[in-house]
Symmetry: C2
Subunit: 452 residues, 2 copies
């Protein structure tokens, strides 16, 4: 969908801009959702981007701006006047505004906050006060609060009269005079209820709340579990602070999964799409870990040089080095992939480490035994069929390979499973390059095991 639509329209719009056909341009953009328009704008040449943007009505400009990637937003901001920036930011929801301010230098953020209306500035400062990656930081403080003593008819009347944006009306929040959340209520339930019922009596389901201090991972987990589209954020005393909506949570979940994959794949986090990431950024994000892993692997050369005498006596030993160390690495990546994902989805907790360790040792033993058997049979067969010549001690070599594989795979699985727990214990992200790091660690230890 995106490509056909995006491509066709982009050509059309470029042509209209070239011709200076402003009215047609305005009409062409009216039939599009803000999301589609945002996609078209991204692909336009920078100059046209600015022109099209200034043509949009104020409300629509803010909506389209919200759907642009953050990098694109910061670029546009630096090209706009203070007044235009203020207008755009006033039109954004507080959570989108904070996501943008997070990426700007501190002095620009301060300057922008000063230009905002007192209401918007207060809402924005409230969110900025919570640490990044918490529910409080990413919530929006705009929601509809009802008093428990209102009737359904009164509440519906208030909703009809309200001038707020309509986004936040599908779930309503019953809040007492002290600001404490009583329960939430779907608009659907209100429409279908007897108009004389008191809102406080319309409890349809046990309330689910999110603490302002909850981490992004916890928020994702609660949304996935309870299948709600909007959840209230409260402080420790149960006071209602704001709401989180499922579309933002879904974006956060996708972002988190991408980051975990990148870390498992031995990369620093790259938060822009592959094609939009500048070549040198990509190089830097890759070179960092690659260099660290390279330094780690240099230890294999050091380790092997200790055994140089053994190798020169039986060169045949060196043949199986890549086979053995890569098996340890592969089993280690498997284990860390499993554990990193299970920790991220909160299927495992820190206290499960001992159960996991026992399990991975058993797994590693069995897997190592199995791979060792294949390796043993391969050596015996090749020797017997005269494909290769492993010298007079070939049976000893075959047994060495088997035993080494058992030890290496057990070690790889154990380290691969325990490293994510250790990283979590140290309050680091368990995904931080676990897999390649584990592979490197097992390479070095694999060599020592093998030659010993």
């Amino acid at each position: 969908m995106r490509n056909v639509l995006g491509h066709l329209l982009q050509l059309d719009l470029e042509e209209l801009i070239a011709r200076g056909a402003w009215d047609e341009l305005r009409r062409a953009s009216e039939g599009l959702t803000p999301q589609d328009l945002a996609e078209v704008i991204i692909d336009l040449p920078p100059n046209d981007e600015g022109i099209l943007f200034r043509l949009l009505p104020r409300d629509r400009a803010a909506a389209v701006f919200s759907y642009l990637p953050i990098e694109e937003q910061t670029e546009l901001i630096s090209a706009l006047s203070n007044d235009q920036t203020r207008e755009l930011l006033e039109g954004m929801t507080p959570d989108d505004r904070v996501a943008l301010l997070d990426e700007l230098p501190a002095d620009v953020t301060r300057r922008i906050l000063d230009t905002l209306s007192p209401d918007s500035a207060r809402a924005t400062r409230l969110l900025l006060g919570y640490p990044p990656d918490t529910a409080g930081h990413s919530m929006t403080p705009e929601y509809v609060a009802l008093r428990p003593e209102m009737t359904v008819a009164e509440a519906l009347e208030e909703i009809r009269r309200s001038t707020r944006r309509t986004e936040t009306f599908s779930t309503l929040f019953v809040v007492d005079a002290e600001g404490r959340l009583q329960h939430d209520l779907r608009l659907t339930t209100m429409v279908r209820a007897d108009p004389t019922t008191r809102v406080g009596d319309l409890v349809e389901r046990p309330p689910v709340t999110i603490s302002a201090k909850a981490s992004t991972e916890e928020v994702i987990r609660v949304f996935e579990k309870y299948d709600r589209t909007t959840l209230p954020v409260t402080d420790d005393a149960g006071n209602m602070l704001g709401i989180l909506t499922i579309d933002d949570v879904m974006d956060a979940a996708r972002q988190k999964a991408t980051e975990d994959m990148q870390k498992l794949g031995g990369l620093e986090v790259i938060d822009t799409p592959y094609a939009a990431t500048p070549f040198m950024t990509l190089f830097k994000k890759r070179a960092g870990w690659l260099s660290i892993l390279f330094f780690g692997e240099m230890l294999t050369a050091t380790a092997m040089s200790r055994f140089e005498d053994e190798i020169s006596k039986a060169v045949v030993l060196a043949l199986f080095v890549p086979l053995i160390i890569s098996s340890g690495g592969n089993s280690g990546s498997q284990a860390s992939t499993l554990i990193v994902r299970a920790l991220a989805l909160q299927e495992l907790k820190l206290s499960d480490w001992w159960r996991v360790a026992k399990r991975e040792l058993a797994s590693g033993l069995l897997l190592g035994f199995w791979l060792g058997l294949i390796g043993f049979l391969r050596i015996v067969l090749w020797q017997r069929l005269h494909f290769s010549e492993y010298g007079p001690h070939w049976i000893l070599i075959a047994i060495t390979v088997w035993l080494s594989l058992i030890c290496v795979v057990m070690f790889g699985s154990l380290v691969g499973a325990m490293l994510p727990f250790l990283l979590r214990l140290a309050r680091l992200d368990p995904a931080t390059s676990s897999a390649p790091f584990v592979a490197t660690l097992s390479d070095v230890s694999g060599l020592i095991i093998y030659f010993s």
Copy 2:
């Protein structure tokens, strides 16, 4: 939250069951959401599970049942009578019902379909007619359709009188007499509109629809882009068939991300949580790819044996084998991780392969040059500082290592980036063990490059 709640309640419930305190048991379960109750039930001993389940009121039993993992559902089904099974399945939404039937043997599915009411059976057969992993297969055909000529007051009255479950009322669909979708409408908009407006005139935003043939990946992408909670599914003629809701899409996105990670980590897909997966299942899912990769790595032994003479002449050459092949493997995993994720998020399409190939070759050249430089300096330094003794030809060895690293890293990056494209071209999942496979491939070729 889950752990404290789950653990406390589980002890309580077990005790109540042991005492046979049925009334108290019923009351204790009433204050819980179906999701929490489902979590508590999973952790109970199998006998107690059945008892608690039979105690629940019919509606609630179906709701709790919907939140159990599929394995748990199939187990319970085999323990229940035909009548009980029918009752539970009637109470489920069609999409949840189809997800369960997908996992049951064909004859059990047929038997269950025969016991369902004609309406439920028809809805279920409709979904089963679409291939798995399409929008048609996972949609629910239960939605609220309004005619364009209705007034808002009439539509609201109909919603009030309807006996349907309330889940599906927040987004309504305006459908003409031929069954073609005109547009969708939020309940919020209707509540705030003039009661005499015709529903057909209340167009608030350009419609977004999903084709019944759309893949799960496309569905996820459309939901992420448009920030809607419910989207209509239509056939090629634009007829309304059903709806998809964001909670199911979010589950699908999480599942897809987990599968991609497992495949990248060199595992077969494991669709149960780590702790709930039986030991032997885990072993089999790991042993498969590990064996394939092991066979691949055995080629390294074969490749090295060709160079046995060279190695015995200069054992020092063998020292750098692990370093070189792992660098190729690491850069290859980086590239395939980046490309697999970009393809999954549809940031790249098949036709981008040539642009990516050029970019990865350039990346590989630069990364290889950089790592080679480190390797070269390391050898020169160690030699000069007399940490190691690499023989009279040490400068030749250092240059060989450098050149090999450039070639190996370029080759690893290129293969790592191209393999996902090839898999996608062959209509296979690009994630299918790309990373470890690439690593193995670069190990073998790395050796050949190095010794040549």
